[in-house]
Amino acid sequence: MELAEIVELVKGTAVTPPDVAPQVSCAYSSDLLSDVMGHAPEDSVLITIQNHLNTIAVCTLAGINAIVLCHNRPAPDDMAAAAAREGVAIVVSPLSQYAAALALSSLPPASR
């Protein structure tokens, strides 16, 4: 799935530069960074409210390309800068995590 489609489905706004436009192939939802490290697959989009610099660090380690920040939680400057640097797209969405998951439901879950 293209980033542009994700932005549209979650009614969100990309806060990273336009050249950060990854493809994603599945979705994962969590606010626990250790959980993301342990379970989220590569090339997934992470649905979370963790608007924190460490989220980018974990995404980079786990090979996650895109983050949907729910409830319009803003990405702090240091987080946005790190995301741009690491090529992780951030989409800020007004939806809840549940609603965002439903919006992206055409994506398969992470294989277990």
Partner: protein, 348 residues
């Protein structure tokens, strides 16, 4: 009990009962005989030192003489004079100090030299229950009272407490008697509800954090509070409980229902919040990854508790602690189901 916190100092003493749950009572006054003691306990919590203390007090400065103190004591029939300048308390001269000065021959010396400086003080915001405990523990006849900014604002004696309590008890008992009267229709007035519970909250004890909020929620459910109102109150209690647990050195959570209001007070013993406006913003947090991994530290605690409250107050003094008060107005009919059967209504 932490020995360090027990030492007499010029700072207001800490919570004297950090290590015990004071489950005062939860009761709806229905009969006079059965519930009166509960009303007294509630009064002891509800009435604050500031409501009882004498505010117009005789004060001398450090540069006044002991003989001046003696003269004022005799003239005003008082047994102790605080030595203070610009609201800052330096000591107390008591009758004992005067007697020693007379026998020792230093009655013309300055108060600064002979006043008692090892002071136990009370805080204006403390419940009367604390004051009574201090009278019992320290055997002093009076305590100076300081406000949150450590300014001397009054003096409190055992007699002041007794007088105020007698007055309030008379009022409370009159109210109970009028409710007990059979010809008096059962009220659906939330002002008739009483409850007061206090819970200690220990720093970093995440295993037990939340127990107070759960207990409060249970209480509200038992009293048939509207589910939304109960949720708002419980949310504030929970956020504040977790805040004390994570961010402070420890403290207590107090929950009260009185006078048609529900109040949650979270009080900790430090370290204090440097920037309250920042801390109350949504999404601001000083939590570390360990706390985040436990599902907290999203930086929404204060903002959340403020959002659900009808009235929100926060006072924080660096190095001393933070007190957060969330108040909720109880609409008419709140808890009416348990207070008594609602009065019969005719028509639709």
């Amino acid at each position: 009990m932490d020995e360090r916190q027990r030492q007499p100092a010029i700072l207001p003493p800490p919570h004297p009962s950090d290590d015990e749950v004071i489950d005062r009572h939860t009761a709806i006054p229905t009969t006079v005989g059965g519930e009166s003691p509960l009303v007294i306990m509630e009064l002891l919590q509800r009435m604050k030192v500031r409501d009882v203390m004498r505010k117009e007090i005789t004060v001398l400065s450090r540069r006044d003489t002991m003989s001046r103190a003696q003269e004022l004591m005799r003239k005003n029939h008082i047994s102790g004079i605080p030595i203070a300048e610009n609201g800052r308390l330096y000591g107390i001269v008591s009758v004992d100090d005067i007697i020693r000065a007379l026998t020792g021959g230093w009655i013309d010396d300055l108060c600064a030299k002979h006043m008692s400086t090892h002071l136990i003080v009370l805080e204006a915001d403390m419940p009367i229950a604390f004051a009574l405990r201090y009278f019992e523990n320290y055997k002093y006849n009076r305590f100076p009272v300081l406000d949150r900014h450590h300014q001397l604002v009054g003096l409190i004696s055992q007699r002041d407490v007794t007088r105020a309590l007698l007055y309030e008890l008379t009022v409370a008992i009159n109210r109970l008697e009028s409710k007990a009267a059979p010809d008096n229709p059962a009220p659906d007035d939330p002002a008739a509800l009483y409850a007061c519970r206090e819970y200690p909250v220990v720093h970093n004890d995440l295993e037990n954090a939340g127990k107070a909020a759960n207990d409060i929620k249970r209480l509200l459910r038992e009293h048939k509070f509207d589910t939304r109102l109960a949720r708002r109150i419980a949310v504030a209690a929970y956020e504040l409980e977790i805040n004390i647990c994570i961010h402070s050195f420890g403290g207590s959570l107090t929950f009260m229902i009185a006078d048609g209001k529900a109040t949650v007070v979270a009080k900790d013993t430090g370290p204090g919040i440097p920037d309250i406006v920042w801390a109350c913003q949504d999404g601001t947090s000083t939590a570390n990854d360990w706390i985040r991994s436990l599902g907290f530290g999203a930086g929404m605690g204060l903002a959340n508790s403020k959002r659900v409250s009808d009235r929100f107050d926060i006072v924080s003094v660096m190095g001393k602690g933070t007190t957060v008060t969330c108040q909720f107005n109880l609409p008419a009919g709140t808890g009416a189901d348990t207070a008594a059967p609602p009065p019969a209504r005719q028509g639709a």
